[in-house]
């Protein structure tokens, strides 16, 4: 039995990061911030209601169950291995290198644009906050705010995941707390008096179409996967963080959706007819302080999301460089802070384009929507691939179970349909996505031509070292 034992390394192939130091709470906080549930609580229900109407809650329930299954698929990997490359490294263990590379492109697009979206969101609500205090920033002023926020976030992430995790935990829990308080007050007060509104009854097709934007509310919930090498007990804390984030975000969304549908039960057209539902509900009750509180909560949530997605983006690029398919400089770690600080430059083009567009007068709210839509497409590509990879990975290591096959059989096709629906309904982001896909293909072509061996071996992770094994050298 147990004939040949593979040789163990003395040093991790992803050396440079601070190995096994991060507590479970910090890992969980990063994932929650990646999903940014407080921002989505305010913004997403009205989008879902446009197709699902009174059954908005059902759409959110379906999306939550789906994302819990995705978390289960990811958990098949993260209970067994720890990788700073996140989903693409996991995909590489079950699917061929080309698929892992596609997943990596999806992740880079996803985290890069999610960071951009979060910066846009922070800029938008900071500008609104300033306007409430009587200070009109205008295009160039808002662009300056975005640049300053981006620089601050990069400094924090460079200083180390421990510090940024602490900031993120504080900021995100404050944001969620404020949101839940506002929504609870709205729910307790009930709808405006009057006869029930005449809302067309929801159809099955409408509910299904509503699931697609509801999925978008979850993106970023898997951020904890990139902290595998840095977490103290990664095989426990990472799968738990991803699963618990999906569950927490789901519960918050169901609560937010129910509050808003109920709040507009007597308004003609219902929730779907609203522009800014939470503000409308609050103003209808004469609560002028609500916009201010909402603004603070949204800024906080977007800041935390920017930190979490920058953390993830830098680690994915770091891992790609260690794999030899991205410039080696990106794989350099800071000697004292042990963070992939060079890889942070990847956010510069996103910030430049974003700030340029804002300064030129493009409405920042519009940019926010475009960026998040595009990021969602990137994430959906990687979710589809990682879910499909899970049963193949388990079969390869001889630990396949019926449950794992079932989860992948549900998630991969449904996510694929959602991805197609997402691309079809949004023409402008689709054109931009096409351009990004061409860039990704060019990158793939270069790697195939110049680094075929590295591409074939893609997927470095934080392996068990000789010092981890009983009887190994001390």
């Amino acid at each position: 039995m147990a004939a040949d034992v593979p040789p163990l390394r003395d040093r991790s192939p992803v050396e440079g990061l601070r190995r096994r130091g991060l507590g479970p709470l910090a890992v969980f906080a990063q994932s929650v911030s990646g999903a940014a549930p407080s921002a989505a609580m305010a913004a997403t229900p009205v989008i879902v209601a446009a197709s699902a109407g009174d059954a908005t809650v059902v759409s959110f329930l379906a999306a939550t169950l789906l994302m819990l299954l995705v978390a289960a698929c990811i958990g098949q990997f993260t209970r067994r291995m720890a990788a700073p490359g996140g989903l693409y490294t996991l995909t590489a263990k079950g699917l061929p290198p080309g698929a892992a590379f596609a997943c990596a492109v999806g992740l880079v697009v996803g985290y890069g644009l999610l960071a951009g979206g979060a910066l846009a969101g922070a800029g938008q609500y900071l500008a609104e906050f300033a306007a409430m205090l009587g200070l009109r920033l205008g295009g160039p002023g808002t662009a300056a705010v975005v640049v300053v926020v981006a620089a601050g976030a990069a400094v924090l992430v460079r200083r180390g995941v421990r510090l940024s995790a602490r900031v993120v935990l504080l900021v995100e829990s404050a944001a969620i707390g404020l949101m839940v308080a506002v929504f609870a007050l709205l729910l307790v007060n009930g709808p405006a008096p009057g006869p029930p509104a005449d809302v067309p009854p929801p159809t099955v097709g409408g509910i299904a179409a509503g699931v697609v934007p509801a999925i978008a509310a979850f993106i970023g919930f898997e951020v904890a996967t990139v902290l595998g090498a840095e977490a103290r007990r990664p095989f426990r804390s990472v799968p738990r963080a991803v699963g618990a984030t999906a569950a927490l975000a789901g519960v918050l969304y169901l609560f937010a959706a129910q509050t808003q549908v109920f709040g507009f039960a007597t308004t003609p057209g219902g929730l779907a007819a609203q522009q800014d539902p939470v503000l409308t509900l609050a103003v209808a009750r004469g609560w002028v302080w609500v916009p201010l509180v909402l603004d603070v909560a949204l800024v906080a949530s977007f800041l935390a999301c920017a930190l979490a997605s920058l953390t993830a983006l830098s680690r994915v690029l770091f891992s790609l460089a260690k794999d030899g398919v991205a410039p080696a400089a990106l794989g350099r770690a800071h000697p004292r802070h042990h963070t992939p600080h060079v890889a942070l430059v990847a956010i510069v083009p996103v910030v430049v384009v974003l700030a340029g567009a804002v300064a030129a007068g493009v409405p920042i709210g519009h940019l926010l929507v475009v960026l998040i839509t595009m990021a969602t497409c990137g994430f959906l590509v990687s979710y589809v691939l990682v879910c499909a990879a899970a049963p193949l990975f388990l079969r390869r290591i001889g630990e396949l179970t019926a449950g794992a096959v079932g989860a992948a059989a549900v998630t991969a096709p449904v996510l694929l349909v959602a991805l197609v629906a997402f691309v079809v309904v949004s023409p402008l982001p689709s054109a931009l996505l096409g351009a990004l896909a061409v860039l990704g293909l060019a990158w793939y072509g270069w790697v195939r031509w110049a680094r075929p061996a590295e591409l074939a071996g893609i997927g470095v992770y934080d392996e068990t070292l000789s010092t981890d094994v009983l009887g190994g050298p001390r």
Binding site: M1, A2, A3, D4, V5, P6, L8, R9, R79, R80, M81, K93, R233, F235, R236, R240, I397, G398, E399, T401, G403, E463, T464, T467, D468, V469, L470, G471, G472
Partner: protein
């Protein structure tokens, strides 16, 4: 998040221990399928138990992700075995005993605990379980704690064994700082009200790693004195012991 252990899953506990035993018996590289077949456990149960044991670091997955081996943490399951004392080292300790009228004890730290490897037969030291459980109260234990990045990892309980025992975090930290700056340790009536102890470290000649400690035990009033000459004598013997014990 975790429910308190009810102790009502005897089967799961038994199976987990059987899995650990099977990994030891089959040797590193054994796969989940092989373990499941050998123990006649359902595959899904085996995978779940393996993942739990890997999460807790009693087991590790080898780089092929298929094979398992014992993790470093599994060492905690075995009774720490102290190294045997070479005859030459016993002779050095005897030499010191002949020169002083105190109890002279030699303890090893290589297991991460205070383990007496040559206690003085004429002046028996404090019982081994007490020394192992309250390292903060003994001079030898303080040598070991002062060497740790975080002393709390080795201290189970702060208890006042006598009115003089250090029994708060701040007191322990102050005592350890003293050990660090002086290079030797002392306790006055903290294990038994009328006895005290001096201890000097024995370090490996190559890398300076702490391997053992040499202690002198006597009446509190005598231990409290400056004892400069006595400490020199102890250091001299510790230096002779270092190459024999490292």
């Amino acid at each position: 998040m975790t429910a308190p252990l009810s102790g009502r899953q005897p089967k799961a506990v038994r199976s987990a221990l059987a899995v650990l035993e099977e990994v030891v018996a089959a040797g590193p590289g054994v796969t989940a399928k092989e373990i499941s077949a050998a123990l006649r456990l359902p595959p899904a149960t085996t995978y779940r138990l393996l993942n739990l044991l890997v999460a807790d670091e009693y087991l590790v997955r080898l780089p092929d992700l298929k094979g398992f081996a014992l993790g470093r943490r599994a060492a905690r399951l075995a009774l720490p075995a102290a190294p045997a004392v070479p005859t030459a080292a016993r002779a050095v300790v005897e030499h010191l005993r002949a020169q002083v009228r105190w109890g002279v004890h030699l303890a090893s730290f290589t297991t991460g605990q205070v383990v007496m490897i040559d206690p003085d037969p004429d002046h028996p030291p404090t019982a081994a379980p007490v020394l192992a459980r309250f390292p903060q109260a003994s001079a030898l234990g303080r040598l070991l704690l002062a060497e740790q990045p975080d002393w709390r990892a080795l201290v189970r309980e702060l208890r006042a064994l006598t009115p003089h025992t250090v029994s708060t975090r701040a007191e322990v930290e102050a005592a350890l700082r003293e050990v660090e700056s002086a290079g030797w340790a002392r306790q006055l009536g903290e294990l038994h009200a009328d006895r005290g102890c001096l201890a000097v470290p024995i370090r490996a000649p190559g890398d300076g790693r702490l391997v053992a400690g040499l202690a002198l035990a006597g009446p509190v009033a005598r231990v409290a004195e400056p004892n400069g000459a006595l400490l020199d004598l102890m250091r001299e013997h510790a230096e002779r012991l270092a190459p024999l014990l490292a």
